[in-house]
């Protein structure tokens, strides 16, 4: 394994108009490492992971993904996006395509994979997320939990080197959260590099190598889960933990 980090943010800042959403963020994610990002709403978690695959452009600092620095060159950004999977809170499946077509679209067009191979891969991934029987359906015919698992499979179909998750279970009914988290835990066991924005602290405890706590555009703490949950260093983290674990 190379010592080079999979994802590296150095002094990354981002403003929206007058509002400073990220203030000189530093973060390194090693290959195979699992990071859970938490923090109050509006603290910049989404902005940070969206910068990693160029959905949001940073104003200053450097972002390096798999050895490639993110600049304005669109081709480079597209190359990085192909290596980094992303799962959204609202699934964002393509409603006009079947589940199978959702999974094969990018492999066919971006990876130029032969159709037969792309479909075999898609079926294999649907097995992994435990819904192979839904391959011919449209996203609108699936439950939220099923849709999110399809979305995970769609990202995996590109054989990414890292996966970003932006609150993947926040839009789900409680009874569906577990089926999605199970898939993510399994993915973590297989050694995927993961950055997961979530408030599922049980998931953080089982899976995370480090928990990153953000507040007001800054990374306030970053520590292994036992340390972070057992002995948070800052008042802000303590307050946040008491709020989400309190009730």
């Amino acid at each position: 394994m190379s010592a080079r980090p999979m994802i590296e943010l150095r002094k990354v800042s981002k403003r929206f108009g007058d509002f400073q959403a990220l203030k000189a963020i530093d973060l390194e994610v090693a290959p195979g490492e699992k990071i859970v990002v938490c923090g109050p709403s509006g603290s910049g978690k989404s902005t940070m992971i969206r910068i990693v695959n160029g959905l949001e452009r940073h104003d200053s600092g450097t972002v390096v993904v798999d050895g490639i620095e993110l600049r304005d060159d669109l081709r480079e950004i597209e190359a990085i996006r192909a290596e980094v999977g992303m799962v959204f809170q609202s699934f964002n499946l393509f409603p006009h395509l079947t589940v199978l077509q959702n999974l094969t679209l990018a492999p066919l067009w971006v990876r130029k994979m032969p159709r037969r191979q792309a479909e075999a891969l898609a079926m294999e991934l649907l097995e992994r997320v435990k819904i192979p029987e839904q391959a011919g359906k449209y996203p609108g015919q699936l439950s939220g939990g099923q849709q999110q698992r399809v979305a995970i499979a769609r990202a995996l179909a590109m054989r990414p080197k890292a996966m970003l998750f932006d609150e993947p279970t926040s839009a789900l009914d409680p009874e569906m959260i577990k089926e999605v988290l199970d898939v993510m835990v399994e993915l973590a066991r297989e050694g995927m590099t993961m950055v997961v924005v979530t408030h599922e602290m049980g998931f953080a405890r089982t899976v995370a190598d480090r928990v990153v706590f953000m507040d007001q555009g800054e990374i306030v703490e970053a520590a292994p889960p036992q340390e972070f949950f057992g002995a948070p260093q800052t008042d802000r983290a303590r307050l946040f933990l008491s709020q989400i674990l309190g009730h």
Binding site: N53, G54, L55, L74, E78, A79, R81, A82, V84, G85, M86, F88, S90, N92, L93, F94, P95, H96, L105, A106, W109, V110, Y138, P139, G140, Q141, L142, S143, R154, A155, M158
Partner: protein, 372 residues
Amino acid sequence: MSAPVHPVVNAAGSAPAGGAAPLRWLRANLFASWPNALLTLAALWLLWRALPPFVDWAFLDAIWTAPDSKACRAAAGEGACWAFVAEKHRFILFGTYPYEEHWRPAVACVILVGLWAASGLRRLWNWRLVPLWAAGLAAVGVLMWGGVPGLPYVENERWGGLILTLLLTTFGLAIAFPLAILLALGRRSGMPVIQGLCVGFIELVRGVPLISLLFMASVMLPLFLPERVTIDKLLRAQIAMILFAAAYLAEVVRGGLQAIPRGQYEAADALGLSFWEKTLLVVLPQALRISIPPLVNTFIGFFKDTSLVLIIGLFDLLSTVKVSLTEPAWTGFGVEAYLFAALVYFVFCFAMSRYSQSLERELARADAGRRR
């Protein structure tokens, strides 16, 4: 009379079977309340006054065939002179195209209508439509121009009538539609120069009547072109119509694009799809689908608007009708002639309108099937 108002909740169609059903339907739909009953009676009275005389004129007293206009003149005012239409229909439909070659525009009309019909079938909605259209339009071109063995050359000044209307509409829409998509994409591109050009073009064209565009194309365009370059009248009119249709269609497409949630763009981006892959595979299929009803609406309007080319001296369906009336023997049968033209327009527009309605229903059903 005291008409008790029955609480008929499910009006049409759901009345139980039996002798009372038609009566119940009448009461529920035509005599539900006093104003409703009055309107029904007024409408019936109007129909009773207007329909029999019209039927007499159009059918019972009409003259269907006549060797010349004398028979029609003799029956002046009593019945319609369909003999005029029978006599002139070839000219009305095909203009001054050489008489013995009329089968060529006729076949061309059939091909064009066939292309449209094929494009209307959902199961044919795939890339094969593109070569089909290319082949169809090429065949129409060869048929109309000729100049190949067996088909004498016919210059396009002699094209006219229905085929000209269909050609202007078909080529107009076939070129304007892709152009409109580019304009709509450009308008949303966020690149200042491209966006400015697209907005400028769309607003400019939408800001002037089609007539003035046609005049500009036929009168002003030649002034700007170098001495030796001449574009023929048909092409100039076609260009004007394309620009006109493109501007309106662009706004329809833009409406569809606006309805696509940002998450769709982001998901496509996150998978590494390029701009064109994202646009063609993810965004447009959804946006165009939403836009189908207003698109068909615009198509219908455009089909009828082609009749304006008569003011710059092209012989579309309406112009050939007008010209056929100028023959001394047949002057004065304008009502019959224009009714015939209206009927042809109506058949096409009604077909498009019904098609659009059935498509809307079908898509709604398909969408419902894609949800739980």
